[in-house]
Amino acid sequence: MTWLVRSAMCALYPRAGDLPGLEDCDLDGFLERFHREAPLRMSLGVFLGALVFHLTPLFTVFVPLPAFLLPPPLLDRHASRIAGSGSYWVRQAIFLVKFPAGLCWGAHPDVRRRFALGAYPADPADWRTR
C-alpha cells in the first residue's frame, strides 16, 4: 500500500518551476525509513489520510475516479481543493499525509539549496549507553 501513500504525497508536493517536487527527494527511501521507525498508529494514520485523498475526487473535481487515475491537471486541482476542504476531519486526514511528506521534502539537500539553506548532516540516531 506504500504506492497509495507515495502517489498522494507526490500529488500534494509536485515539481513546480525550479522547485523540486517530492518525487525528486528520495521519497521511497524516506517512506521505507518512516514505516520502519514510526509508531504503527502513525503509519496507519498516514495510510488512512492517503485513502481519503484517493477516494474523494468526486467531491472536489466531480469525477468518479480514485485520485491515482486522474489526469495530472485534475489531480493537481484535487490536491489543492482537498487540502483546503471545509471539513475539519478531511483537512486533518490530509494533514496526516502532508506532515511526513513535508519532513521529507524540506530536509532534502536540493530543496534546501534552493532556499539558501545548508544540507543537513545525517542524523546520528545514537545515544549514550554507559
Partner: protein, 502 residues
C-alpha cells in the same frame, strides 16, 4: 555503574532519593539533593543523547527527542498537538531556554485561590531564580545571533509603541544556528542533560536512561521506590525490568501529562489528580516581506513582548520553525502549495501564547498507552486567541510586511493590510486554527485543601509520605510567561524542603 541504559538483565539498587524525570523540574531537584550529599537516582524514560547525538532534521527531532514522536494531541473540539520531549534533559533540550521570572501577581493569586504562595514564596522563588540565572548563564540574545526575523519583530513592536524585549535565555554565547528545536549541537543551550545530569553522576548519583517508570512502589501510604521496564530507544522493544528503592523519598517530575498518570497507575487516590490541566495554546502568523528574511538564520526565538499578559492575556514572541514544518503548516496542496512555499525565504513567523483560562483533564490512555488530554478552549479564550493573531498581523505590517499568512481556515491564504481586521472578526471555533500546546500546567496542582489539590506548597502529595511532585504539574494557574524558570525554582525549593525535613 553510575549510568544504566537499556539492558537485558534486571537492575535493582537502593538510594536515598529517586527522581523520576530529568527535565527542568526533575534535574533541578536532583542536583540540589546530590549537592547536599544524598545518593540520588535520576530515572529518565528517554535515551541520553549528548549534543553530538542530536539530530539536525525535524524528522530526527521527532523520532529521537519528542514524546510519542510529537504525535500526542488533545481530545476536544479540535486536535491540537501537545508538545513535550522524551529524552535526557526533557523539554529543556528542545525549547528555547527562555528565562522569565515568575510574575509577582501569581503568588498572591495562588495564596488567594489555593492557600499556598504569598510574599514568602515569592521571595524564595525569586532568590532561587537569581541563583539559576547565574548558574545557567542567562543572557540576552546577542546582537550577532538575532537574525532578521527577530530584528523585524523589534522594529514592528517599536512602530506600534509596544513594550518588548530581546529574550533572555539559558544560553551561553548563542551561535544563532536556528536549531533550538532540534537540540543545540553547538552546546550553547544550558539544558539539564548538559549541566545538571552529569553533575548528579559526578556526585555519586545513579542515572537510568531508556527507563520509563510504570509505578511508584507504595507500602501503605509511603513511597518506597519505583519500578519499570527498559525500552529500546530505536526499536521500542521492552528490555529487563528495574527497581530502584528510595530510603527517603520519591520525587515525581515526569511532566504535566505523565506525572498525574503515573500517580494514578501507582494507586494514589486524590480527587484532584489529573484535573485542572491548563496550557498556553499558541499559533503563528507569517509575515511576507519583499526582501529575504531567512528566518532560520539567527536565534529560533529572540524577541518577545509581555505587554498583553494581563489583558487580554497573551504573550507574543518570534518562533522560527524549520522548512520541513513550514511545508505542512502552509495551507493547500499541489502546485498552489509549491508556489506558496517558493516564498519561504521571505517569510517570518511570529507567534502568540494565550494565557487561557480553560481547564482540561489528563487521564491514562487505553492499554497502557500515552496519557489522554481532554481540553477545549472556551469562547473567551478563543477571543483572546483571535486578538493575538490580529496583533501579530498588525506588527508584521508595522515592520514592513506586504502581506500576512494567518493560517485560518475559511480566510484567504494571504491577507493584505486593508484586510487585517478580518482576523479580529474571524471564527471562534478552534477547528479553524492550527495551534500547539507548549506550556503545560496542572494535573497535580498544589494547594492547601486536599480536596481541591494533589500536593501541598512543598510538593508533598496529600495523605502520603515520601512522595513529592516537582514539575509543572503542581502549578495551579497559567503563568502567562514561559514556565521553565518557574518550574526550576519551585523544584529547587521542594528539594530543599525535603532535605530540611530529612
Amino acid at each position: 555503574m553510575p549510568h544504566v541504559s537499556f539492558g537485558e538483565r534486571r537492575f535493582e539498587d537502593d538510594v536515598d532519593y529517586v527522581v523520576v524525570g530529568s527535565g527542568a523540574g526533575g534535574a533541578a531537584a536532583a542536583v540540589v539533593l546530590a549537592r547536599a550529599g544524598a545518593k540520588v537516582a535520576l530515572v529518565e524514560a528517554g535515551a541520553w543523547r549528548e549534543p553530538e547525538h542530536y539530530p539536525s532534521s525535524a524528522y530526527g527531532a521527532m523520532r529521537d527527542l519528542m514524546d510519542d514522536w510529537g504525535a500526542s494531541v488533545t481530545l476536544g473540539r479540535a486536535l491540537w498537538p501537545v508538545v513535550q520531549a522524551r529524552t535526557m534533559g526533557g523539554t529543556t533540550v528542545v525549547n528555547s531556554a527562555i528565562a522569565i521570572r515568575t510574575p509577582a501577581d501569581l503568588f498572591s493569586q495562588w495564596e488567594r485561590e489555593h492557600g499556598v504562595g504569598g510574599d514568602g514564596l515569592r521571595e524564595r522563588v525569586w532568590a532561587a531564580q537569581e541563583v539559576l540565572e547565574r548558574e545557567l548563564c542567562v543572557e540576552e540574545v546577542p546582537p550577532a545571533s538575532r537574525g532578521r526575523s527577530n530584528e523585524l519583530a523589534m522594529k514592528g513592536a517599536e512602530a506600534m509603541g509596544m513594550e518588548s524585549h530581546w529574550i533572555r535565555r539559558y544560553a551561553k554565547g548563542c551561535a544563532g544556528t536556528g536549531q533550538c528545536l532540534q537540540g543545540c549541537r553547538k552546546q550553547k543551550k544550558q539544558s539539564t542533560n548538559v549541566v545538571w545530569v552529569p553533575e548528579v553522576l559526578a556526585r555519586g548519583g545513579l542515572v537510568l536512561s531508556c527507563a520509563p517508570v510504570t509505578r511508584v512502589v507504595l507500602e501503605g501510604t509511603r513511597a518506597v521506590g519505583v519500578e519499570g521496564r527498559f525500552v529500546h530507544p530505536a526499536t521500542r522493544e521492552q528490555g529487563a525490568s528495574f527497581l530502584v528503592r528510595a530510603r527517603k523519598a520519591v520525587v515525581v517530575a515526569a511532566s504535566v501529562t505523565h506525572s498525574p498518570v503515573l500517580l494514578m497507575r501507582s494507586g494514589v487516590k486524590r480527587r484532584a489528580l489529573g484535573r485542572f490541566f491548563r496550557a498556553h495554546p499558541g499559533t503563528g502568523v507569517f509575515g511576507v516581506y519583499d526582501a529575504p528574511v531567512d528566518q532560520n538564520v539567527g536565534a529560533t526565538q529572540g524577541w518577545a513582548s509581555t505587554q498583553y499578559r494581563e489583558r487580554p492575556g497573551l504573550k507574543l514572541e518570534t518562533l522560527s520553525i524549520p522548512l520541513e514544518l513550514v511545508a505542512s503548516r502552509f495551507a493547500g496542496g499541489g502546485t498552489e502549495l509549491m508556489k506558496r512555499l517558493g516564498q519561504y525565504r521571505h517569510v517570518a513567523m511570529w507567534c502568540h501564547a494565550v494565557r487561557a483560562e480553560s481547564t482540561g483533564t489528563v487521564s491514562p490512555g487505553p492499554f497502557g498507552g500515552a496519557p489522554v488530554v481532554r481540553y477545549t478552549l472556551d469562547a473567551d479564550d478563543m477571543e483572546r486567541f483571535r486578538e493575538g493573531l490580529h496583533l501579530l498581523a498588525k506588527m508584521h505590517f508595522a515592520a514592513g510586511a506586504r502581506a500576512v499568512i494567518p493560517g485560518v481556515a475559511g480566510l484567504p491564504f494571504e491577507l493584505g493590510q486593508k484586510d487585517v481586521d478580518r482576523l479580529r472578526e474571524g471564527p471562534t471555533d478552534p477547528r479553524h486554527y492550527i495551534a500547539v500546546l507548549t506550556h503545560l500546567f496542572g494535573g497535580c496542582v498544589m494547594g492547601a485543601d486536599p480536596d481541591r489539590s494533589v500536593v501541598d506548597g512543598e510538593g508533598r502529595v496529600h495523605g502520603y509520605q515520601g512522595l513529592v511532585v516537582a514539575d509543572a504539574s503542581v502549578i495551579p494557574t497559567n503563568l502567562g510567561v514561559n514556565p521553565q524558570h518557574t518550574i526550576m525554582a519551585l523544584a529547587r525549593l521542594n528539594a530543599e524542603a525535603l532535605l530540611a525535613r530529612a
